[in-house]
Amino acid sequence: MDMSLNKKALFIATGVSLLLISFVFYGSRKLQNFDPALIIYLFGTVFAFFGIVYRYTVWLQRPPTWMYFKRTFQFFFTGKIFLHVISFAKEFIQNIGFQKFIYPRGRSRWIGHFLMATGCTMAFCVTFPLTFGWINFTMNPATSINPSRVHMYEAHFFGFKMFEFALGSFVAFVIFKALYWCSWLVIAGVLIFMRRRLTNAGLVATQTFEGDLLPLILLLAIAVTGLGLSYGYEYMKGIAYDYMAVTHAITVIMFLIWIPFGKFFHIIQRPAQIGAHIYKKEGIKRGMAVCPHTHQEFATQLHINDLKIVTKELGFDFTLEDGTSHLDLSPEGKRSRLAMAHLKARQQNGGNLFG
């Protein structure tokens, strides 16, 4: 594993992190709306942001990743990407929003993942703007001084009033307890996945604690301690509040700073799946590659040509003596050519079966 510092990634990640800090500063109206109780979460988020951008930049520099990234931009600048806008939007909803591709792999697997993903996404939408001071709530002063009136609460975004709602109303119940719903979704999803990981023999054989089980434990700890914070003061007179607050902060920050390095990085990588689909669709328009052995179409010619470039960049050269490439063959063609080469070696050795 290459452990050296990637200067390009360091430069970009530092720049983007500074930009985020400036957005936090100005988005919270020069910290007027910033909640100091969340400062530790802000540090964790900025560090996670730095790590994600750093890892993403390093990832993009790998030849195969860069090829896809480059092609996406080429399609964009030649106007081709606009032809794919509708399918992009459709796929984003299907594959990122609903993770449709997981359903054929197993129904309970999809339900578990969908619950976790929805819970986490909703929680991100609530907690990040709150931590950055982009969202804040204030009491409507006109209603707060009159005890006989219904108290109104105002929601602000970037310091601008968005809407107001009555305390004790259904809207207040839904908004104030938003993270409850997220936690319960995450807990249900984690339990489904934990059951799977503890009972599926194939997973038991190949999974790792830090790669597969720890992320679930971490999500569970975040969700349970998050609920514990609220239920603790609602039903336990706040007895466990300090413990819950500290544990929640530790688990959330562990989760945040681990995003770039562990399992959770797949959240950042997943949109590349849509890029790969667009690449394939665009390739089909340009023409298919035909296997010289099976004489069947098997992939886009764009894909095969790009792979020849990428493999050479990675130090592999599959150029054959006649100037063609082994990569021109379909997978079935390659298997057959291997068997034919084996037969040829046998024929050169007298032609008899050997044992």
């Binding site: 090829m67 194939g202 190949t206 890029g275 992939a299 990675l314 057959s336 068997a339 080469a341 050997f354």
Partner: protein, 189 residues
């Protein structure tokens, strides 16, 4: 990986001249827990128009796997035993780079799953000291899993080869192919 009983003295030996196309290995492969009950082995006719000869192909578990190198999502990894594992389901973006770049034509893309899947040498079994499913059922021992001493005794006129020449590229693998005695490599041109 968890603590294992992987037996490093045991190796995989493939001899396609012995393949009779019975597809028992395909059935056995789909029993493997790590594949989610999908068969990962390939049995196909070499050139059906002129011969009934079939060929069998398992993952060769390359020392420097091309599939892992060309993966844009870092989804394929090789473990300390040299087993190249199937795509990490969370990371794989279904681009098929590995499918098209593997010189042995091994990885499969499951379109419904939008996922690459490949043989991981029955890791649930081999990590417990057992033999891969396909090798336990092959009636002609075109697929054999055991020690070098065992195969040398059984096939005195063969030599296991794990070096393959694809034009300008030389690929060495964990899995062996049985070749006429004295061979050092298999040249595919």
């Amino acid at each position: 990986m968890p603590v294992t009983n992987y037996r490093t003295e045991q190796e995989f030996f493939v001899d396609m001249q012995r393949c009779i196309g019975c597809k028992a290995c395909e059935m056995a492969c789909s029993e493997c827990e790590t594949n989610g009950h999908e068969s990962m082995i390939h049995v196909n006719y070499i050139d059906r128009a002129v011969t009934v000869q079939t060929t069998v192909q398992v993952c060769m578990h390359c020392d420097d796997p091309v599939c892992a190198n060309v993966c844009p999502a870092d989804a394929i990894t090789k473990d300390e035993f040299g087993v190249v594992h199937t795509a990490n389901t969370a990371r794989c973006i279904g681009c098929s780079n590995c499918v098209m770049a593997c010189p042995f034509g091994v990885p499969k893309k499951d379109e419904a799953y939008d996922l690459m899947m490949k043989c991981n040498m029955c890791y649930d079994r081999t990590s417990a000291g057992k033999k891969p499913m396909c090798a336990t059922v092959c009636p002609t021992q075109a697929l054999y899993y055991g020690t070098r001493e065992e195969i040398a005794k059984m096939r005195p006129n063969s030599t296991p080869v794990n070096n393959f020449i694809f034009g300008k590229e030389s690929v060495s693998t964990k899995v062996n192919i049985m070749m006429p005695k004295g061979s050092t490599s298999l040249i595919i041109d």
